[in-house]
């Protein structure tokens, strides 16, 4: 599997000015790591482990693999039941799953008493600063998760690490939110200009998620959410105002817009999931695309990453589970197939079915994340200079109200 050097996300990070907030957050993250030392030690720390590279493993720092593993994950990321049960039997583990229903559920739960004993959860790169400030994440080493060494170079990136270069999260699945459309009606559009065409008036469905939609709008305008100025934000808001008459529905879930597309009630979802066409049944020709022509271009890239929260009480098994999921073994492959996911380790894609593998440009992931679908970081929680998260939520609600 070819790999690439260079890194768009790194460029993005290094080009971004070091604001007071970033400086403070990085300093606090470092302090958090120091402060979290005893906690880490209590749940296994980051010392050596015997987890095998092929997935699973018999031992790791802090204890043997086994016992109860509490995972708080997106549905589908808990692996298909037969494969998971086989792994549980082999390792003597009982996986107890609870599902994340929204990005914003993760942090409050992990910080609350309900987060006690959760061994594995998820985080997205755009939330990293907030997670670091909340001192949730614990470093994950290659000794604990040997398959980290198989990550595509694009994922071996500072964005996922602490100041000491240790992984705080393990990239697991990636994709993008972009143009999902009915090709029978729209042919083969390659520009976001199509959104404002008369034929799409009242024919667009928007995935009703303020965070994703506002990041998506910023990214296709070529703005970095972390440093979007008020002037740039006005451009985004104006674009949304023009888009609204075209919108027929706000879909509360992926499944909902898939049903509407499949029934022919809408013809396009601009912020749709790139693997939608795998799951839409029916006789419509649903396609997904990252538009490359016109003034607006690209799509919103995303990476779902696994983390071991500081309240974990079975670290060895948590590490073994993470290692297993990115290993390319049966559990791993079936999980990626089940969610039509993008594999983050180089050795996995050849083992995936062609339909799943062809969803992603594995031979040029750098280009995907650098040019076509940049991974957006979150709008800042506080800033005097740039547009904040709260302002984007307000703008989204204004957009919905019309």
């Amino acid at each position: 599997m070819p790999s690439n050097s260079g890194n768009g996300i790194n460029d993005l990070l290094t080009k971004a000015p070091m604001s007071r907030r970033v400086l403070l957050s990085r300093t606090s993250a470092a302090a958090a790591l120091l402060a979290a030392g005893p906690v880490l030690a209590a749940c296994g720390g980051s010392s050596s482990s015997g987890t095998s590279a092929s997935g699973g493993g018999s031992s790791a720092a802090g204890g043997e693999v086994g016992g109860e593993l509490d995972i708080f994950v997106w549905q589908g990321y808990d692996a298909p039941v037969p494969a998971r049960k086989a792994w549980e039997k082999k390792e003597g583990v009982n996986v107890k799953t609870s599902y994340i229903s929204a990005q914003q559920d993760i942090l409050p739960k992990l910080k609350s008493p309900a987060g006690e004993g959760i061994d594995v959860s998820f985080a997205s790169p755009f939330q990293m600063e907030v997670f670091k400030e909340a001192e949730i994440l614990t470093p994950i080493t290659e000794e604990e998760v040997p398959n980290l060494k198989n990550l595509f170079p694009v994922f071996n990136n500072d964005i996922y690490k602490n100041e000491e270069g240790e992984f705080l999260v393990v990239p697991f699945n990636f994709g993008w939110n972009g143009m999902v459309y009915n090709a029978e009606v729209l042919g083969d559009p390659n520009s976001w200009d199509v959104l404002m065409e008369p034929e799409l008036t009242g024919r667009i469905g928007l995935w009703d998620d303020s965070v994703t939609t506002m990041q998506f709008a910023a990214v296709i305008h070529g703005f970095d959410p972390q440093t979007t100025t008020p002037e740039q934000f006005e451009v985004i808001k104006q674009w949304l105002t023009e888009l609204r008459p075209q919108v027929k529905m706000f879909a509360p879930s992926l499944g909902d817009y898939m049903t509407a597309l499949s029934n022919g009630d809408i013809d396009m979802v601009p912020n749709g999931w790139n693997a939608t066409n795998v799951f839409v049944e029916g006789n419509r020709e649903i396609k997904t695309k990252i538009p490359t022509e016109g003034k607006l271009h690209g799509a919103l890239g995303w990476v779902d990453c696994m983390q071991i929260p500081y309240k974990c009480d079975n670290r060895a098994t948590a590490a073994a589970w993470i290692n297993q999921l990115i290993s390319g073994d049966q559990v791993s492959v079936e999980t990626y197939e089940g969610v039509a996911g993008g594999a983050t380790c180089e050795n996995v894609p050849p083992k995936l079915a062609k339909a799943t593998r062809d969803l992603f440009p594995y031979n040029d992931l750098n280009s995907l994340f650098e040019k076509e679908a940049p991974i957006a970081l979150e709008f800042p929680q506080e800033s005097d200079k740039y547009v904040t998260f709260d302002e984007t939520v307000e703008a989204y609600e204004e957009f919905k109200a019309g």
Binding site: D105, V130, G202, F250, N263, D265, G402
Partner: protein
Amino acid sequence: MNIKRRTGALLMTPLTVILVMLILVPAGIFFLYSFYEFKLYEAQPAFILSNYSKVFSDPTYRTFASNTIQISVPVTILTVTAGFALAYYIVGCRSRKRTVLIALVVVSMLASYLARIYALRTLFGEHGIIGGIIEELGIGHGAPGFLLFSRSAVIIGQTYFLLPFATLVLFAGLSGIPDDLRAAGRDLGGGPAHVFRKVTLPLAGPAVLAAIVFVFFLSAGDYLTPSLLGDPNSVTIGSAIQEQLKVTGNYPLGAALSFVMVAAFALVYLIVRVAMRVTGLLPAKAGRA
């Protein structure tokens, strides 16, 4: 008497504990949240009124409130009217037919809410069952647009979902009216319409008030039907609360929106009650119940 009262209190204790623990305590905590500050995805303890001032000052929420009223008022009128007619008919039926009809009303409530919404989408979709029939008959291309992803679709959907609830409440009220009273009205020279207006309707007043309140509250608080059947002009306060609680995680603002809505509900209840009292639809004594 004393023993009877004590036994009653004893029997009520488990229910009281359940109500307090599962409704009042969580509601109290949620009320406290409405004064908290939202920072870093967290409700942080504070005592601020900015969440409430935002609810009242932000024109976005006025738009959502207006959408809510434009959906809930017609839903309430349609549902209570249709429910009254249905309940009135059922009450007048013979025993066996009445049982069958009530069973059918109850059975219609058993299907999953979501399943019923998606059934409506299949029925009303542009290329759904109705659209297919229209195309087959050659009288148009697909289903009319107002049937799905529109405000009228939400009104149709909510009326369909809430009709059984209203019917049961009204049936309970109407079946408690003795036939003798209506017979007395007729004996005194009243025609059917006059007896209905002067005897049946006032005696059914408390049930009508309960049905109105019940349907209006459920309709105004519903976020699922507007999300799944509505268009961009169907975004309601319920949807805004859901957005704050589920997507952005802003519990304080979501809580403030919720309690403003509760206050609005109380106001609506008072207005409806006074209006019914003034028009003679709710006898003063019955209204106290």
